[in-house]
């Protein structure tokens, strides 16, 4: 018996009430935001897989978080900034070393606006 399967099954039971399944249109929308294209086949696979993961993580609904603060920095540091002093930085050729296309010391991009 796969022990991880037991855990998945158990969590599915907890989450029966609410349907968090994504629709294919949702996946298309997220793909657009993420700047990634998918084939129809992949869209369907991702719809299924991401829905299963969302179903799983929905157990957080049962966590007792009333009056609990959110945490975003674990070691308690606040507003860390370096001293505003001029320091050595990478030379231009090193910065451009890996640029796929460059021209006269600049990174070259393809056209940004249509019909201009």
């Amino acid at each position: 018996m796969r022990y991880d399967k037991i855990l998945i099954e158990r969590t599915k039971d907890i989450n029966k009430e609410e349907d968090l399944s994504l629709k294919k249109e949702d996946v298309e929308h997220i793909a657009q935001l993420s700047r990634i294209e998918f084939t129809d086949e992949k869209k369907e696979k991702f719809t299924e897989e991401i829905s299963a993961i969302l179903d799983y993580v929905d157990e957080l609904e049962t966590a007792p978080t009333e009056n609990v603060e959110t945490i975003s920095q674990i070691s308690g540091l606040k507003n860390i900034a370096r001293i505003d002093e001029v320091a050595e930085s990478l030379p231009n050729e090193k910065v451009l070393l890996n640029a796929p296309e460059k021209h006269d010391g600049f990174i070259k991009v393809r056209k940004v606006f249509e019909n201009v």
Partner: protein
Amino acid sequence: MSKELYQLTLLEASDLLKNEEITSVELTEAFLRRIENINPKIDAYLEVFTDTALKEAKESDERRRNGATLSEIDGCPIAVKDNLAMEGEKTASASKILENFLPPYNATVISKLKNAGVIILGKTNMDEFAMGSSTENSAFQVTKNPWDSERVPGGSSGGSAAAVAADLCLAALGSDTGGSIRQPASLCGVNGLKPTYGTVSRFGLFAMASSLDQIGPITKTAEDAKLLFGIINGYDEKDSTSLEKELTANNKNINDLRIGIPKEYFAEGLNPEVKKIIDESVESLKKLGAEIVDISLPNAKYALSCYYIIMPVEVSSNMARYDGIKYGFSAKDAENLIDTYFKSRSEALGEEVKRRIMLGTYTSSAGYIGKFYNKAQKVRSLIKQDFDNAFKEVDFILGPVSPTTAFKIGEKSDDPLAMYLSDIYTISVNLAGIPAMSVPAGLVNGLPVGLQVIGPQMSDLDILQLANTFESNRNELPRAQIQ
């Protein structure tokens, strides 16, 4: 001498170099030969720096002759994970999108190793951008477990753990976001320390989830982990989350230690044979004089869900830099700017990376951020509070690292959730920013099992000491037999 040079621990090699019984060139050559013979069987390395390693070894020997060694481990050859920037050497984070990327600068840990005279043998394989628990998500190759080549080495630092277990280096560096040092260390039978968040600079570590990522050592012994950790830790102004406070040791005697056993880590889901080894390990520390107490981490059950919201949100943000414009793979057939983004990312990012970007984009998007991300950040507070409360009562927490031993290659690769569950005992540590270590504890059917030692923030040196005490008192374990 009964041992082959490649079988030495970091400390032993350091002593032999110091006493001038061996040279760094001899040692480095022994590893390069061993890599040539063994690496094709397990594919732990992505890149081996034969010429540079030998050149640096010669320089190290020269320094030693002149009485100018740079550190305790000057001349010792080690391996580093492929997500640590090394100036002028291909560093890809095992991703096609960075296939020919040449970092223009060194990660702070790489500079520290070089300043200590350490020889870097090569870059080790990993899951693409450290996303995975088996090293199967590498865009380039699948690393095999040196104990059984049909099984995974764990991940994401699977190449580093396999290289140490198969004597392909004296020690290695890995990175740990949800268990990526400890789980492969456990599955390969080596030591792996995930340090306190902020003690090792992340400058030059290719980011996965920045509030969780931490670099640490993977070694043959606990003493070696201490030695290597001593070189890489310390404040760095280039990492705004770096801690200025210095690490100190409590040096408590084992008779004065209280060790907590969280019942949540021993519930259903844990393989009974793995459990038996962990129980025996706890018993051995009890016999040495430690007081063992039962504790509870009531919110531990939420850790995996909390992690699979927070981590992908940070991933989706960090991965936005791979746009096909500034560096890395760029689709040649794109017509305009936005097309460059879509085509480059779609073609060159792997499936797990895309899955996490998609998941993180969704759970942080308008309408869902409250339900998912903000809720998860509150749960993260609860998980941290659990540990804070526990460490008022106990000095350390012990438990398993992974619910099972190494699984078969391909066994979980089509089931993302099953793969995520292999990190169930390791991720709360990252969420709480505390240190933890995997120490080899025994074997189940010829496969290694690691014991996890967890301590409060900044207790790294004490964890290393307890790991050493445990290691020196347990039966000697065999090494992976790979010839």
